[in-house]
């Protein structure tokens, strides 16, 4: 086994193990901490694919900023032992249904995409994720979707201000 393969298997096992730990942790804060481990191992995968910019962005945005939002949501929900709202059977039922639907989508997507089998990722020499190629594609070919994304940010910000300032 080459070094890349060892790293790949190590990171995959780490990512899957932490993802399972996110689900089975009783304390929601522990779940968030395990999710950070998941994001870091996925960043390691990006590095293996020679996508350094994506790896750094994944750490900055997901492990940095999105995690803060997750923690604030947990702190806003007031998860006291006494007033824990997770006892509802209907809530669990809807959770199982939505999770099952997501699993069905994943399975059907992988079944229909037969061309990804027997293909290996471009390790170490792929150049899709490098910042220069990304910038070229983003500002040349996909300039209009890029501008649309700013409208998305604007709507997110306005929505947050409207909801947060309602008192």
């Amino acid at each position: 086994m080459s070094t890349s393969e060892i790293l790949f298997w190590f990171l995959s096992v780490l990512a899957l193990f932490s993802a399972v730990m996110v689900l089975v942790s009783k304390n929601p804060v522990h779940s968030v901490l395990w999710l950070i481990v998941v994001f870091f191992s996925i960043s390691g995968h990006y590095l293996l694919l020679n996508a350094q910019f994506l790896a750094i962005v994944n750490i900055i945005v997901y492990a940095g900023a999105i995690m803060v939002l997750f923690l604030f949501v947990i702190m806003l929900m007031n998860l006291n032992r006494e007033s824990e709202p997770q006892k509802n059977v209907w809530m669990k039922l809807f959770g199982v249904i939505s999770g099952g639907l997501l699993l069905t989508i994943f399975v059907s997507a992988f079944r229909s995409s037969a061309d990804i089998f027997d293909k290996t990722a471009q390790l170490n020499d792929g150049d899709v994720g490098l910042i220069k190629n990304l910038g070229k594609v983003l500002f040349d070919q996909y300039a209009f979707p890029f501008e649309i994304s700013s409208v998305l940010f604007l709507s997110a910000m306005v929505g947050a201000v409207v909801i947060g300032k309602k008192e």
Binding site: T3, S4, I6, L7, F53, V57, I60, V61, G64, A65, I66, V68, L69, F72, V73, M75, L76, M77, N78, L79, N80, R81, I131, K132, L134, G135, K136, L138, F139, D140, A143, F146, E147, S149, S150, V151, F153, L154, A156, M157, V158, A160, V161, G164, K165
Partner: protein, 116 residues
């Protein structure tokens, strides 16, 4: 200096910290008392339960921070390719920054950036 040295470094780092923890487990006699769980010179002891509902204002600040975080990340690939593409890229980023600046002005006017 191949990738094998990276693996060796990672294994050495894990082994270093692991052996240190192991030695302290073996050598020290573990005792627990009330003083051990207290914050030592780390601020005041907490009063009441820590699972309380936090102010929604923190969330607002974090969300606005996240949006400008992503905006700055878009600036990095732009800065690399702006010389190659030319003034079109400059116009694109100006429109992008203008739209987000409108959002900033809205948040500022609404008083979302003031703590109360």
């Amino acid at each position: 200096m191949g990738a094998g040295s990276l693996i060796a470094l990672m294994i050495a780092a894990i082994a270093f910290s692991g052996i240190a923890i192991l030695i302290s487990k073996i050598v020290l006699k573990s005792t627990t008392n009330k003083q051990k769980g207290e914050p030592y010179e780390c601020g005041l002891p907490t009063k009441g339960p820590s699972w309380i509902q936090f102010n929604v204002g923190y969330y607002l600040f974090a969300l606005i921070f996240l949006i400008f975080d992503v905006e700055l990340i878009f600036l990095y690939p732009w800065a690399v390719v702006v010389k190659g593409i030319g003034w079109i890229a400059l116009v694109e980023i100006m429109i992008f920054l203008f739209i987000l600046f409108m959002g900033f002005l809205y948040a500022h006017k609404k008083g979302a950036l003031k703590w109360q």
